[in-house]
């Protein structure tokens, strides 16, 4: 694929006219996808796709296009030439862009990682073996993902990573399940089997009769996976300069009203809002140096500092309250006030005196981030989990987060 990328960049360069320059993003994947339900295959297949994105620039005027390529150099050269003609026509009818910023200092890079990938048969063997006698539902994606960047100034960046990501749930009954994942760059069927056995070992606690608690405030422990759902909401405009300047950030009260998070949260800086993610476009609009953020100004590899609570002591520290393994479907109740709502899902437990009593039926929480990660944050765990995004909208996602668990003195449940 690297040779094809170079051929594509050469083809674009060869079709430039006058003072034109370009920004080129190349993305390709050759993925195996297998979906399972009831410990059997639901759908399996392959997706092979090459996508090219082009920004054709002349002075301060530019236009952008993306298109699929075939891998056949002659066919692709024809598509590229046609697309460049379309972009020239569009650019001619577009006013100058005051916020266009082009990197003028080329910096090349190259990375290739990945070892043994599982074949479809190996995936099915491993998953159906793990699901034997159990109710397994989930999804495995594997194979290489390629990305490249090129510009007219000779910059070349290339990254290829072959990886697998197995994301599945063992169901106990009804909506009670243990959800887990196993991802990496080198497939080892025995390691997968061990991960599956560890997850299955947690099923027993879900077989007890579930309980329901009344709406109200309860002490709560959020696993790193649950906390990641909250971080996902904060990432929705929370850390970007544009969101700050347009007053749409959930941290509006930190910026304007003096609110702060708990000083344990070094994600901000000892609880205070510090730096924004600044894309080149925001940099040009607001006159702040860019720090390499993408256009959406959302963190792609969020990293939150650990605390001091040993994860093994989380139940004991919780005492009596709610142990939340997973949260689900979060959204804002009042963004200006920093208020969020969402549901518990999969494995949530009622805990008394540090012991799991029973699975808890799903509950809705509705609380402010300034309480969750502020006044009510008692501790963060000393261990952190690396959470790899299994998402595949538009292509396989390679984002991740590394987070601790969070112990809260109170979380407000409403339904």
């Amino acid at each position: 694929m690297r040779a094809h990328f170079e051929a594509v960049a050469k083809s674009v360069t060869g079709n430039l006219k006058g003072e034109e320059e370009f920004l080129l993003n190349y993305r390709a994947e050759d993925s195996t996808f297998i979906r399972f339900n009831k410990s059997a295959v639901r759908q399996g297949g392959h997706v092979k796709e090459i996508e090219l994105s082009l920004d054709l620039i002349d002075g301060k005027r530019h236009a952008e296009a993306s298109l699929n390529l075939t891998g056949d150099e002659a066919e692709d050269a024809a598509r590229i030439a046609r697309t460049l003609d379309d972009l020239r026509a569009a650019r001619g009818e577009t006013p100058e862009d005051p916020y266009l910023m082009v990197n003028e200092t080329p910096a090349n890079s190259e990375r290739a990682i990945g070892g043994q990938m599982p074949g479809p048969g190996e995936i099915i063997d491993a998953v159906t073996a793990a699901g034997r006698g159990r109710d397994l539902v989930g999804f495995v994606a594997s194979g290489p993902v390629y990305s490249g960047f090129a510009n007219a100034r000779g910059q070349r960046n290339w990254d290829e990573a072959a990886s697998f990501n197995a994301d599945w749930s063992f169901y106990a009954a009804g909506d009670k399940a243990v959800k887990t994942s196993h991802a990496g760059f080198d497939w080892d069927a025995r390691a997968f089997a061990r991960a599956a056995e560890t997850a299955a070992g947690r099923l027993e606690a879900l077989t007890r009769a579930p309980v329901t608690v009344k709406p109200g405030e309860y002490r709560a422990y959020l696993t790193p996976t649950a906390l990641n759902e909250i971080m996902g909401m904060l990432s929705w405009g929370g850390f970007g300069l544009a969101a700050q300047k347009t007053r749409s950030t959930i941290f509006l009260k930190m910026i304007e009203g003096g609110a702060r998070l708990n000083e344990r949260v070094t994600l901000i800086d000892k609880g205070d809002y510090r730096d924004c993610l600044v894309s080149p476009r925001s940099s040009a609009e607001y006159g702040v140096p860019t720090n390499g953020a993408s256009g959406g100004e959302a963190p792609a590899s969020l990293d939150m500092a650990a605390g001091e609570l040993p994860e093994a002591d989380a139940l004991k520290a919780l005492g009596t309250g709610v142990y939340v393994s997973n949260l689900w479907y979060l959204n804002f109740s009042d963004r200006s006030a920093g208020r969020l709502t969402g549901m518990t899902r999969f494995a949530t437990f009622w805990v008394e005196n540090g012991e799991l009593v029973a699975p808890l039926n799903v509950m809705r929480f509705d609380d402010a981030i300034f309480r969750i990660l502020g006044t009510n944050l008692e501790a963060l765990t000393a261990e952190r989990s690396l959470l790899l995004d299994p998402g595949t909208y538009g292509g396989r996602n390679l984002e991740s987060a590394r987070l601790p668990g969070a112990l809260l003195s109170a979380l407000r449940f409403t339904l």
Binding site: H46, L69, T70, F139, W168, S333, M343, V362
Partner: protein, 446 residues
């Protein structure tokens, strides 16, 4: 294309071109998608799909059928009176610049903008029995937004109720795009100055734009048969609906009538057949409040031994077909919005969704809207901000006590319905009138 804070953004276009080969072989299914449509690329895809089926042989879920062979030759052309491609780029940009300037009503406006998202879609389905279905459709989604901020409070108002609609430039006139910006800007300012929505149990009228979301989340998703069969339990979730409920379960009051309607041309999920070649016809999902049939395509119907609809769909060439919503509509009743308001002694009117959250069984929901107005003694009163409400799906639909007529009916749709592993975002249409619900838990912000 978009204009943000009076600055035209670079025009972006996307061409997605590829093919999906699905093979039924040795009682199993395999698929292979490729962006390489050369002869060698397609040959490779067929080989990989056959191999995928052979690998899954004897290990697929029970009850798996092959799709029914389609021998008909069908061509579908969606509506487009005034082709979007015929309107010059500069003219479109002019519309957006005018809208942007009209949106900014005073200095408290911190963000505003306007945009157009137009899609041309061409799809050909072929099967081994000689069937051929070709479809061509055009979609347009105009957007407007304005956000006003002062003293630590930001209120955003958008023109989002209509969502995406099938058609060309005529959609702008159908929806009143050119007269909307000033109202959107004014309402952002009104919301900034408004008190919070009151809290308590009271009557609730949802405008059709919010009804779209309510139908989508608490009727559409729970009726998807693949969810009921468990396929989505690891991702999008399951359903509180079980197979035994069809034909016996009271889902809502007797005013509730829900149809699957692939024939309403201006809705964005209209088609003659789904993506496995099943002919699509209008069917009642809920009639007189009683649950009649699920949203399940031929594969799920055979697995569950239940009737269904033609809704096995893929978002694009690079994803396999699964059960999806298409056009899911709430049939209109009679009367105007004023008629509904006139029946309310104490309540709130809400419109335009801004927040949505529901549990994985599609039961406990909490939704928020951009714009609310207090209703008192049968009249619309003060504007209120941060209007929210929560409830439980079937209990909520049983509290339906008024369904507006054609005067309140809106054809809408969203291109962002997410589901499936691998993930897929598809276009779904919803058409609905305004509706009145009793004794709903309503609350405001902060």
């Amino acid at each position: 294309m978009a204009v943000e804070r009076d600055v035209p953004q670079p025009r972006r276009s996307t061409e997605s071109l590829g093919g999906m080969v699905t093979v039924i072989h040795k009682g199993a299914l395999g698929y292979a998608a490729t962006s390489d449509l050369t002869a060698s690329g397609l040959t490779e895809a067929v080989s990989r799909a056959v191999s995928a089926a052979e690998t899954a042989e004897t290990r697929m879920i029970p009850g798996f059928p092959g799709p029914a062979a389609l021998t008909a030759d069908i061509h579908y052309e969606g509506p487009e009176t005034r082709p979007w491609a015929d309107v010059k780029l500069g003219e479109k940009m002019g519309y957006l610049c005018d809208a942007s300037q009209a949106l900014k009503r005073d200095e408290r406006m911190v963000d505003w903008g306007a945009g157009f998202w137009a899609i041309d879609k061409e799809q050909v389905y072929l099967d081994a029995a000689g069937g051929r279905i070709s479809q061509r459709a055009h979609y347009l989604m105009p957007t407007l937004w304005a956000a006003a901020s002062a003293q630590g409070e930001t209120q955003r108002r958008s023109w989002a109720d209509a969502g995406m609609r099938a058609g060309g430039a005529e959609v702008l006139d159908q929806l009143g795009f050119f007269s909307a910006p000033a109202q959107v800007g004014d309402e952002a300012i009104q919301l900034l100055e408004a008190p919070n929505c009151p809290e308590g149990e009271m009557d609730l009228i949802l405008g059709p734009g919010q009804m779209v979301l309510q139908i989508h989340e608490s009727i559409g998703h729970p009726l998807e048969l693949d969810r009921i069969l468990g396929d989505e339990r690891n991702y999008a979730g399951t359903s509180f609906v079980t197979p035994d409920m069809f034909g016996t379960f009271r889902y809502g009051s007797d005013l509730l009538n829900i149809t699957f309607d692939p024939s309403m041309g201006e809705e964005i999920a209209s088609y003659p057949a789904d993506d496995i070649g099943t002919r699509a016809t209008r069917e009642y999902l809920i009639k007189g409040g009683m649950l009649e049939r699920p949203l399940g395509g031929a594969t799920s119907q055979a697995r569950a031994n239940l009737p269904g609809v033609a809704n096995e769909r893929a978002c694009s060439w690079n994803r396999p077909a699964i059960d999806r919503m298409a056009n899911i509509n709430l049939e209109p009743g009679e009367g105007t919005l004023d008629d509904l308001v006139g029946r309310v002694e104490r309540g709130v009117y809400m419109e335009t969704n801004r927040s949505w959250s529901i549990d994985d069984s599609r039961n406990k929901f909490q939704f928020g809207c951009e714009y609310g107005r207090v209703i008192k003694d049968g009249k619309l009163g003060q504007v209120v901000r941060n209007p929210n409400y929560r409830g439980v799906s079937s209990a909520f639909w049983r509290s339906l006590k008024g369904v507006g007529g054609q005067e309140t009916f809106l054809v809408s749709g969203t291109p962002f319905c997410g589901k499936g592993e691998p993930n897929q975002a598809v276009k779904v249409g919803h058409a609905t009138p305004a509706c009145l619900f009793g004794n709903v838990s309503v609350f405001g912000g902060a």
